[in-house]
């Protein structure tokens, strides 16, 4: 019954191009169409498809000084990365460690905390009178370059309580407190970095979700209230389901962000102490440019692509399905 109104309009209009296609000059018409797509296609292939092809191919070579295809290695680079490179993945002990595992930490904590904090702020901000001021304040870090974010948080985390706000704060609570080098401890450094990055991106989550909350029809909320639903139930049973689409959009955005995270790590720790805060993208940079192993670095990039691919496909699928809904 409900499918009826949806299917009819799709089938009803006659395909407009059908009649024209018989005409002889439609070839030029099509050529012109191609011509319009051409610039985008050229830009895309020079800056995306060709480099991607080049990188994937390079991943099977040792690579020369000038990033040329020298010394074919087959899948040796990948083998080395996944089985023998303890800085990338060390599965010999429990819990496993390495750049890949660090990135997993980022995925779990960065995405979930950004979403929870962002959603919480969005829900609360709608309820206060000075909403705009609050939102602006929280959104501002979003406009700061990642490098600057890194430098700001370097100060925050400094072990010297004169510059390190965080240590000064903790000392305020407990005068005998011994300052902590947040970025100097291998067990803390990843979380310290993740938190700094959350600070920088939570504003985006909040703005998107708060716009979506405003899009929820007031009648539904009112109806629920009339029916006796409490605020928590409204949040859980009405807001969350109605926000599922924007939440998934934001999640994908956060995911892509987190897999390619690099700048903040480069500025704040350089992958250290030791190698304890390296992630996939940082390893790629380190191997390619610092250690001069272009093929190996390319293999890391390919792994990054493989991790991202399913999410991108999911994303594109969702865009398509959205079109049908609209």
């Amino acid at each position: 019954m409900s499918t009826q109104p949806l299917t009819t309009p799709v089938a009803a209009p006659p395909p407009p191009s059908e009649g024209r296609r018989i005409r002889p000059w439609s070839v030029f018409e099509r050529l012109r169409g191609m011509l319009f797509v051409l610039p985008a296609l050229i830009v895309l292939s020079t800056f995306l498809i060709y480099p991607a092809y080049y990188t994937i191919r390079l991943a099977f070579y040792e690579g020369s000084f000038n990033f040329g295809f020298a010394h074919y290695l087959g899948i040796d680079n990948f083998k080395e990365l996944l089985t023998n490179d303890k800085d990338f993945l060390d599965a010999s002990k429990f819990p496993p460690s390495g750049a890949l595992i660090n990135n997993l930490r980022w995925v779990i904590f960065y995405i979930s905390l950004s979403l929870i904090i962002g959603l919480g702020l969005a829900v609360l901000a709608v309820r206060v009178r000075y909403e705009r001021a609050v939102k602006t304040a929280i959104f501002v870090p979003m406009a700061i370059a990642a490098t600057a974010v890194g430098i700001i948080w370097l100060f925050v985390y400094s072990p010297n309580p004169d510059t390190g706000v965080l240590n000064a704060l903790l000392r305020g609570f407990d005068s005998g407190f011994h300052p902590i080098a947040w970025l100097g401890r291998p067990n803390l450094v990843n979380y310290a970095l993740i938190f700094a990055y959350i600070w920088a991106s939570v504003g985006f989550v909040m703005v998107v979700l708060s716009a979506a909350i405003k899009g929820i029809p007031a009648e539904i909320m009112e109806a629920a209230r009339v029916d006796g639903a409490g605020e928590f139930n409204i949040f859980r049973r009405i807001m969350i389901p109605m926000l599922s689409l924007p939440i998934s959009v934001v999640t994908i955005w956060l995911f892509i962000n987190v897999i390619k995270v690099f700048d903040i790590i480069y500025v704040m720790t350089g992958g250290g102490p030791g190698t304890s805060s390296r992630v996939i993208a940082f390893t790629m940079y380190e191997e390619t440019f610092l250690n001069g192993r272009p093929g190996y670095g390319a293999a890391v990039a390919v792994i990054m692509l493989v991790v991202l691919l399913p999410v991108m496909i999911l994303n594109v699928r969702r865009f398509r399905s959205e079109k049908v809904v609209a």
């Binding site: 990033f67 400094s158 072990p159 300052p179 970025l183 704040m268 350089g270 030791g274 610092l290 001069g292």
Partner: protein
């Protein structure tokens, strides 16, 4: 009619597009700078950069050739990408002979003799030790531009006077001072070896200890790939290092070391609100401390330096030092003039007059150094019985950094020294 016009329009558009693309492809070739200028890349910023700009200003005044200075603290990626793009700087002044060797082997650098600086001319201005460091495969590639001793420890003379400490001559005496400071409720040391890219200070600690415990021959062998890092002498030196770099004696403990940068560590000792008493790093600390950190410092009263003490009496105190070498990526008349200029005593005199560097050039007399801090360093360099080049800078490629990371692990887990060293050996195996 209309159809034909659209066809023509399409064809024209296509032609324009193709032409445009080929045009961009052609113009994407490396841009050529105006004829009368050169680009010099190095890693200096702050007071070191200002000192170099004084030298280039004098060069420009003499020759009319402009010098564009590019600063890249992280110089390896910068050089690598620009070489791959076919657009390297004209000259790079780089601190690592090991990396100069890597570049020379890849054919990226020009030999000095092909640039008109003959071996005999160079030998007239520099000692053979320096020239050997700037060479690869028997050919000379780098002009030794500036040098620093890395075997000095920075202290507060007034504090030493107050507590009646004498300049320590042995490691045991240095440890005794460390303990007395601690007993007086003061923090003896500050070490900055943390974010980001300050792990090299630990490599300098290690090198001074290694040279004094294993001797120059083993030192040379270790850093040129002839001795393994799993040799017991390496673990021994690393262990001695943790006699000072531990939670007891350094500001904020080992975690504080890993959370502090090189300049931050200097500030901890010589800044306006001082928290620690001693700092170890090369001669350049003096310029940074008095120039950037705290201009009120008085040499000989609130800041001073003494040579690294001996550990094994039989091995004396070899001087570990470092230098930056100028190498040419291109051969142009301007490049030739510039290299010739910085290899002269005149350029060296201008450079050292800034107090930022010492010159390896024989034609720069000790009297050209204005500051007593630098003069002490020059004397140490000139009178050293044994001079050893900074070992981590001799390691190939970026292994100087990797070695620093390994030492960061060492100070955190002194119990795991052996396994950390064997992991590192596994990485560097076959890389020389």
């Amino acid at each position: 009619m209309k159809r034909r016009r659209s066809l023509i329009a399409s064809a024209v558009a296509l032609a324009v597009l193709v032409a445009g693309l080929t045009a961009t492809a052609i113009s994407a070739k490396p841009t050529k700078r105006s004829a009368n200028s050169i680009e010099v890349l190095s890693l200096w910023g702050g007071s070191e950069k200002d000192a170099f700009l004084k030298v280039t200003a004098a060069f420009t005044k003499d020759t009319g050739i402009k010098v564009e200075y590019t600063s890249a603290r992280d110089f390896i990626p910068e050089v690598r990408t620009r070489l791959a793009a076919g657009n390297p700087p004209d000259i790079g002044i780089l601190p690592r002979p090991g990396y100069i060797g890597t570049l020379a082997k890849a054919g990226a650098l020009k030999t000095l003799s092909s640039l008109g600086l003959s071996n005999s001319y160079m030998a007239g201005n520099y000692s053979s030790g320096w020239l050997k460091l700037g060479s690869s495969g028997g050919k000379l590639y780098g002009v030794p531009a500036k040098a620093n001793s890395k075997s000095v420890i920075w202290y507060k003379p007034d504090s030493f006077a107050k507590y009646k400490f004498k300049i320590p001559k042995t490691w045991a005496q240095l440890l005794a001072i460390t303990k007395s400071y601690k007993a007086k409720g003061l923090v003896p040391w500050s070490v900055g070896a943390g974010p980001s890219q300050s792990q090299w200070t630990l490599t300098d600690w290690f090198e001074n200890i290694y040279a004094r415990t294993a001797g120059p021959a083993k030192y040379q062998a270790l850093f040129t790939g002839k001795l393994k890092f799993t040799d017991p002498s390496v673990a021994n030196a690393a262990k001695i290092m943790t006699q000072i770099i531990n939670n007891k004696y350094v500001l904020n403990g080992v975690q504080g070391v890993l959370g502090q940068s090189f300049v931050g560590g200097i500030t901890d000792v010589f800044g306006t609100s001082s928290k620690a008493q001693l700092y170890f790093e090369g001669g350049f600390v003096g310029g940074i401390a008095t120039g950037q950190v705290n201009p009120n410092l008085k040499a000989g009263k609130t800041i001073g330096d003494f040579p690294w003490p001996t550990i094994k009496a039989s091995l004396d105190h070899p001087v570990v030092g470092a230098a930056d070498f100028a190498g040419a990526f291109k051969d142009t008349p301007e490049v030739r003039q510039f290299l010739k200029y910085i290899s002269t005593g005149a350029a060296g005199k201008i450079w050292v007059s800034t107090n930022a560097v010492t010159s390896p050039n024989k034609k720069v007399p000790a009297s050209s150094y204005p500051s007593p801090l630098v003069r002490a360093e020059v004397k140490q360099l000139a009178t050293a019985k044994t001079f050893l080049f900074d070992g981590s800078d001799l390691l190939p490629g970026a292994f100087g950094d990797t070695w620093g990371f390994a030492l960061q692990d060492v100070i955190q887990k002194p119990g795991n020294i052996k396994s950390i060293l064997s992991t590192f050996q596994g990485k560097i195996q076959g890389q020389f």
